[in-house]
């Protein structure tokens, strides 16, 4: 297998799915009509409701949905089950479920006066559905923040060549906001300055950190050695002892060293190869606090001052890294076949039955929640129904915007899978970065390998960090708006932000992030199942054939319910017996998993009843709800 085959396969599958399936649904089931007035036209207010060119909207929707999910998910899945199952789920999932969710959520919102999915569920299914959906959203945000914080803290602590680029990203973010909005400088000039400076800082991280034999040694580089010294100084605060100990059965944590020539992982200062235990050192805590401070600024400062410019810089860095990597992936089989060849195995056997005291990762249902955003994601439906649906100029733009953006995101996930698969060794993020580094050598030459890998790490961090900072902002708003009435102190943005961060850190410090990621994946996919459920009920209410949404709903619903239980079981057998703070964290996550499970059952029951009611030609439950 090589990269060219993946490129050809993906092109063919996406072409067929878009032209022969998606267009047919758009034409025959949804019946999009360019002459129908959209909410953007009917309720135009120049801000939220605003007819927008479909090209602009496609870019906007893609940027809104493409975050760390399509990259982290395939990396984790390839580590656990090999690249072949991940590839199959990415292509089949997006063709029959992913685009359905994104596109349909937008169209349902368009046909319901631009209301969000939560408002539509209140009207179509039951009032409590909306409340449950909000609780889903909050826990979802909490879990994704926890998963991302865990990944980033590990990376910053393990790779001394990465922090400089991230610190510079924050500095350039503040500078960009100042230059754009206060000094009124030209956008292109500002972009050129801040993006170039940030990329140079990322690339220079490993400068000089190579021994004459060509081995990486961070104590040698002028930049990385400063970070190494700083980490050592912080670790000396506890006399070099760990704050706590965690385990990572997937070995995806960047603190887990890559296997040596004998295929075994060596024991290091923070990793015990015999027990699989990873020490959480004070430097890890420091970098976690650094990230929290970064996110705090983003969550509480005016959005133009920090969060938005940081995201803007992050976008260009990601685009350039991913774009050049994609070019490398296409050219590799012709120019450097050794780069384009897959080093990761196609299949990794995982036991189908649980073993006592061990984590259980069966292909079904765990693969389908581990890879979320590249195949299907509930987050997309939520964003699409609120942001994109209100700007759609013509109904017929719904498919190229919603479906098109989802298929494009799928290609991003495939690229992440390719990068990981050709790298072969190292942890999850390490594989991605090494893969990007290899692909960039196709474009920039062999000498760029070291810097390309650093850029891969930097881009990975940027993608995850820009999402995390916004998640804390959204969590802050959600807490204030949702719980603020009952607990008035949460209306204070500093209190709600700190509350969100404390909850997140509880999850980060006490569990291994792969469980957090899978629980986040389960919450995300359950939200996807619920958005599909709303679409199905709406189709039934409209007397249209709901099959294209009904079967994906059933599959996602059953799969993610099962995945939630498996994750809770894994937490129970692997972390709870350790006792202490880790067990407390595991119990917290088990409780969240069970809450998600129960609330999903309630929504499923309400959805079933609503479906039956509309099947019999009954009215919306809104009137009945109003009487409650």
């Amino acid at each position: 297998m090589n990269t060219l085959i993946i490129v050809v396969l993906a092109t063919v599958v996406i072409y067929l799915a878009y032209n022969f399936y998606a267009r047919r649904i758009d034409r025959d089931i949804i019946r999009s009509d360019p002459k129908k007035a959209t909410p953007a036209k009917m309720y135009m207010d120049g801000v939220d409701f605003m007819p927008t060119s479909r090209n602009v909207l496609y870019g906007y929707h893609f940027k809104s949905i493409a975050a760390a999910g399509p990259i982290v998910g395939p990396i984790t899945a390839a580590n656990l089950w090999g690249w072949a199952p991940a590839l199959a789920w990415l292509l089949i999932g997006v063709s029959f479920i992913g685009w359905v969710s994104d596109y349909s959520a937008i169209m349902v919102a368009v046909r319901n006066d631009g209301n969000s999915l939560s408002a539509i569920s209140h009207k179509l299914i039951a009032p409590r559905t909306r409340t449950i959906l909000f609780s889903f959203i909050f826990f979802y945000l909490l879990l994704v923040a926890g998963a991302f914080m865990g990944i980033m803290s590990s990376l910053l602590a393990a790779r001394p060549d990465v922090p400089l680029g991230i610190i510079m990203l924050g500095v350039m973010g503040v500078l960009a906001g100042q230059m754009l909005y206060k000094w009124k400088m030209d956008l292109i000039v500002v972009t050129a300055i801040v993006v170039v400076v940030t990329i140079v800082a990322m690339v220079l991280g490993p400068l000089g950190a190579v021994t004459p034999e060509g081995k990486l040694d961070f104590t040698l580089g002028p930049i990385s050695s400063v970070v190494v010294g700083f980490n050592k100084a912080v670790d000396s605060l506890t006399g070099g002892n760990a704050v706590m100990v965690v385990t990572d059965p997937t070995n995806a944590d960047p603190r887990v060293p890559a296997p040596g020539a004998d295929g075994k992982r060596p024991t290091t200062a923070i990793y015990n190869a015999d027990t699989g235990e990873i020490k959480t050192m004070p430097s890890y805590l420091f970098w976690a606090l650094f990230l929290l401070a970064f996110s705090y600024l983003a969550a509480t400062l005016p959005i133009w001052r920090f969060a938005q410019p940081v995201n803007y810089i992050g976008f260009w860095i990601t685009l350039l890294t991913i774009g050049f990597s994609a070019i490398g992936a296409v050219l590799a089989p012709f120019i450097k076949p050794e780069v384009g060849a897959f080093a990761l195995e196609a299949f990794k056997a995982q036991p189908w039955l649980p073993e006592a005291g061990k984590a259980w990762q069966p292909l079904w249902p765990m693969l389908f929640v581990t890879i979320a955003c590249g195949s299907i994601s509930g987050w997309h439906a939520l964003i699409g129904s609120i942001g994109t649906a209100r700007q759609l100029e013509y109904e017929t733009d719904g498919l190229p915007v919603g479906g098109g953006a989802m298929f494009t995101e799928n290609t991003l996930a495939l690229l992440a899978l390719v990068a990981v698969s050709i790298a072969g060794t190292g942890g999850g993020a390490g594989r991605f970065a090494a893969g990007v580094g290899s692909l960039l050598t196709v474009v920039f030459g062999d000498g760029f390998k070291l810097f390309g890998t650093a850029l891969g790490f930097g881009a990975f961090m940027v993608i995850v960090l820009t999402v995390t900072q916004l998640i804390f902002r959204v969590m802050r708003v959600t807490l204030s708006e949702w719980v603020g009435e009952a607990v008035p102190v949460l209306k204070n943005m500093h209190v709600s932000t700190v509350t969100s961060m404390v909850l997140t850190m509880l999850l980060v410090l006490t569990g291994t992030w792969v469980y957090l990621w899978q629980l986040f994946g389960a919450a995300n996919q359950l939200m996807a199942a619920l958005s599909l459920l709303i679409v199905t009920v709406w189709l039934r209410e409209q007397k249209r054939n709901p099959s294209y949404a009904l079967y994906p709903t059933l599959f996602m619903y059953i799969t993610t319910l099962a995945a939630t239980l498996v994750t809770a079981r894994n937490l129970f057998v692997t972390i709870v017996p350790k006792g202490g703070a880790a067990a407390a964290g595991a119990w917290a996550m088990i409780v969240i998993a069970l809450l998600l499970f129960v609330t999903a059952l309630v929504i499923g029951w309400d959805g079933y009843q609503a479906y039956q009611r509309y099947a019999k030609g009954g009215p919306a439950k809104q009137a009945a709800a109003a009487a409650d």
Partner: protein
């Protein structure tokens, strides 16, 4: 697309690409800026024209003096102010 959009002029490849890049890089920033401006404007209209929705803040004399300057904004203001919202609207 199943049906053509009406009266949409053909755009060149680079025009399309420019729009997509704008959508990815800057559309969100423009929306935030617009939203901030609209919030300030709408707050101003609420203070000066609150009578129209039953919230008398400013004496009607001054409201009438300001009315000609506010007229172009009134329809969108009422639409935005009176639209039913839920928590998810505040998130994004």
């Amino acid at each position: 697309m199943s049906q053509d959009t009406p009266s949409t002029p053909k755009k060149s490849f680079f025009q399309n690409l420019k729009e997509i890049m704008y959508g990815m890089a800057s559309h969100d920033m423009s929306r935030y800026a617009l939203r901030t401006r609209a919030s300030m404007e709408h707050l101003f209209i609420l203070i000066t024209m609150g009578d129209m929705i039953g919230i008398p803040i400013l004496p009607p004399y001054y409201s009438l003096r300001l009315l000609p300057y506010v007229v172009p904004q009134i329809s969108t203001w009422k639409r935005r102010l009176l639209r039913e919202k839920d928590v998810s609207d505040a998130m994004f």
